[in-house]
């Protein structure tokens, strides 16, 4: 299975070296096309006017915030079940990126909400559950930071990620229930079938661009993480070497 070949971090780094420029290029092209389409091709909404253009970043960011968590959940399974060496690297590095996308979804959402609803924030079911997701991301990042040993931190974070993955639907459901008891829903809906292709296409292109952006950032961050662990191993070795200078002398012929 080809996937397993890239379990070796060195091989993975080589792959990243090859893939990253292409992916970055594609991402830039997709963003250029998507931004052009969302500003110049897409029509303004008859109800919301020009503010509908915020949707082209808001909705992809919201999708990505959830996709990112799914990737972390799968990676956590990889850590706990398959013991894949890159799984916790992937899970760890996806968290800040996911947090950033969630943050973007929240910010654009409230900037969209102000002209439409008259307020930046309502404790609406959907918004609240995205906020809870953001807190989950930040909590996971903090957990990673407070533990010194990456292996232990990886396992702990994997358990929390999976518990969160099981809990998020429950949270979503209960927040929905909580909210309908108190306040009638005021969230605007994108009713699938009624979306005009002129709106749908820019949205899809932007979604592809955001996904590509995620993968570019994720690969870059994974590369950093692998380097960080290499530094850690080397430092541990450096500390344990009693006489590093003599080690230099013997190491040189081997190079």
């Amino acid at each position: 299975m080809a996937f397993w070949d890239y379990a070796n971090p060195t091989r993975f780094l080589k792959l990243v070296q090859v893939v990253l420029p292409w992916l970055t290029g594609l991402c830039v092209v997709a963003f250029a096309a998507g931004l052009y389409m969302s500003f110049f091709v897409a029509p303004e909404d008859y109800q919301q006017g020009q503010t509908v253009r915020i949707m082209y970043i808001h909705v992809p960011a919201a999708w990505l915030s959830m996709m990112c968590y799914s990737i972390m959940a799968v990676s956590s399974l990889g850590t706990l079940v398959w013991k894949h060496p890159l799984a916790d690297v992937s899970a760890k590095t996806a968290a800040p990126i996911g947090a950033a996308f969630t943050f973007m979804a929240l910010v654009t959402g409230s900037l969209w909400g102000k002209p439409m609803w008259g307020t930046y924030w309502v404790w609406d079911a959907r918004l609240t559950s995205v906020l809870v997701l953001l807190i989950m991301y930040l909590g996971l990042m903090t957990l990673w930071r407070t533990m010194d040993d990456p292996i232990k931190a990886g396992k702990a974070a994997a358990v929390l990620t999976l518990a969160g993955a099981l809990n998020l639907p429950v949270i979503k459901f209960s927040v929905d229930w909580w909210n309908t008891l108190h306040q009638p829903a005021s969230v605007m809906r994108l009713d699938g079938p009624t979306i005009h292709p002129d709106i749908l296409w820019p949205l899809l292109v932007m979604a592809v661009a955001f996904t590509l952006l995620f993968f570019v950032l994720h690969l870059m961050a994974m590369r950093n993480e692998i380097l960080r662990r290499r530094v850690r191993t080397l430092r541990l070795r450096a500390a344990s070497a009693a006489h590093p200078r003599s080690a230099v002398a013997t190491a040189q012929p081997a190079e």
């Binding site: 800040p96 190491a251 081997a254």
Partner: protein
């Protein structure tokens, strides 16, 4: 083009998203520079990934 009465909100959302992505990229680049610097320093100290005794793993 005319963004209507809410141009400020639209530009702010795009701007903030751009800013977030730029901060993320900058953070990743700085992190990478830091790790590579540490690796270089360790290499100068003569700590290699190969153990001197067995000449490679």
């Amino acid at each position: 083009m005319d963004l209507g009465p809410h141009a400020g909100f639209i530009l702010a959302s795009y701007g903030l998203c751009l800013l977030t992505v730029l901060v993320l990229i900058a953070w990743i680049r700085i992190d990478k520079a830091g790790q590579e610097k540490a690796l270089r320093e360790l290499a100068e100290q003569g700590v290699s990934r190969r153990r001197p005794e067995d000449g490679g793993r």
